[in-house]
Symmetry: none
Subunit: 205 residues, 2 copies
DNA sequence: ATTACTAAGATTCGAGTAC
DNA sequence: TGTACTCGAATCTTAGTAA
C-alpha cells in the first residue's frame, strides 16, 4: 500500500483534516521532502487526498481503497480455531511482576471478567506449532495500553482469549519485551502452575 | 504492500507450497512475465519467498511482515468499544457559541433526539488514553454539514454517540478548528458541568 | 517556515530472446 | 510449455533552489 496514505491513516487523517507538513511526512516515510510533496500532489490529483490550506485528509475514495485491501488481508489472516500443544516451562519472573501491577490487573478484569493470578504460565510450544503462534496475533484481540511512572514506562499488552486444557485463560503478548519464538505466556484466574501437569493444549478461536 | 506477495498469500502460499508460474503471477498482478520473474528472484533473495522446483511458498519472515502491516490496519479499522478517562477543564467558550447556533442545535436534535444544552464540556484526556482519542474518529459517526452566512462560514461537525459517566452524550469534533490533542468536546441534553465532578469516564462503542 | 519546480541520477519495467 | 538474461525505455527519487 502507498506508504504516504498509510502514514496519514495512522494519524487519523481519514476522519478529519490533520495538520502535517511534507517534511514531516517525508521523515515518517523515509523519503525526501520533495518526493513527499510530489507524491501528495499525485494522490490529490487521484482524489485520494484532499488539502485545504495546510491541512490534509484522506478522502472517502482513498479510505475505501485501503479498506478493500484490509478486507482481503483479513480473509488471509482470519483462520479458524486452532490448537497448539506444548509443555510448561519456568518463566523469567517478569510476567509475575507485570501481573502484580494494578494497571494490568484492573484492565484484565475489566476486559475478561477475572482478576488474574499474579503470575504467568510460560508454555513452550512444540516445533510444529510455532508457526501458529505467529497467527494468534491476527485473531481478535484486546489491547491493554501501557502506562508510565516517573521511573519507567510499561508497554502495551496484546491479549487473546483462549483456553488451556479447557480452562479459560488469556494469552498475553507484551509488545516491548522480546520473547522466545516458541514460548506463549498465559494468564488465568487461578494458579495454573499448580493445577496443570504434563501435556498442555491451548485453544484459540 | 508488495503485490506479488499479496497475490501469493491470496492463493494460500503461506500455508504450504503452491504451484504457480511466473506468467500466471504476471497475469494476476498486471505486469510482464519478465518482471514477475525478476521480482520473485528479489523476494527470494530477501528470504520473503522460498522456491523448491516449480513450487513456491511465503516464508515465516514474509508472512510476519505482512502480518505487521495487517495489525496496523486492524488498529485503524477495528478498534472496539473503548473507555477514556480524564477530567473536566475550562473551554475557550467557542463550543458554547457553536451550540447556540440554530443549525447545529437542529441537527443534533434530528440525529440524536435531544436539543443540546448551549455549551460544550471539555474533557482533558489522561496521557495513556490520548491514542484512543484518535481512534474515536474511526467509529460510526454522524456528520453535521457546515453552513455559511455572508459574514463567515462554519465547518463540519463530526459527531460520535457516547456516554459520559453513564449519561448519554455526543462527542463532537469540529473539523476546522484545531484542538489540543488531549481534549475531547462533549455535548449533552443537560448542563454537564453542573452535574459532573471529579473523574470522568467516556465510553464509545 | 513552508511548498513545489527542474534537472539529473537511480530504479523499475517490458520487449526480445536464450535456454 | 517453462524461467531468466540483457538492454533501452519509462518511471521514480533526490538535490538544488525559487517563491
Amino acid at each position: 500500500m502507498d506508504e504516504i496514505l498509510f502514514a496519514l491513516l495512522k494519524k487519523g487523517a481519514h476522519v478529519g483534516y490533520i495538520r502535517i507538513s511534507t517534511s514531516q511526512i517525508a521523515e515518517i516515510c523515509g523519503m525526501s521532502q520533495q518526493n513527499a510533496s510530489r507524491r501528495i500532489i499525485e494522490l490529490e490529483k487521484g482524489e485520494i487526498l484532499k488539502r485545504v490550506g495546510k491541512d490534509i485528509k484522506v478522502t472517502d475514495l482513498g479510505f475505501g481503497m485501503v479498506k478493500e485491501e484490509y478486507l482481503e488481508l483479513k480473509k488471509i489472516f482470519e483462520i479458524k480455531k486452532m490448537q497448539l500443544k506444548g509443555k510448561i516451562i519456568e518463566g523469567a519472573g517478569q510476567g509475575k511482576y507485570y501481573m502484580s501491577l494494578e494497571h494490568y490487573k484492573k484492565n484484565i478484569e475489566k476486559n475478561f471478567g477475572f482478576v488474574p493470578y499474579p503470575g504467568t504460565l510460560n508454555v513452550k510450544i512444540r516445533k510444529e506449532d510455532i508457526g501458529k503462534r505467529e497467527r494468534i496475533l491476527t485473531k481478535d484481540l484486546i489491547i491493554i495500553k501501557g502506562f508510565a511512572t516517573k521511573n519507567r514506562s510499561f508497554g502495551e499488552l496484546f491479549c487473546y482469549p483462549a483456553r488451556i486444557n479447557k480452562i479459560n485463560c488469556v494469552i498475553v503478548f507484551p509488545l516491548r519485551t522480546h520473547h522466545e519464538k516458541d514460548v506463549i505466556e498465559i494468564v488465568a484466574k487461578e494458579n495454573l502452575r499448580k493445577k496443570l501437569k504434563g501435556k498442555i493444549i491451548i485453544e484459540v478461536d
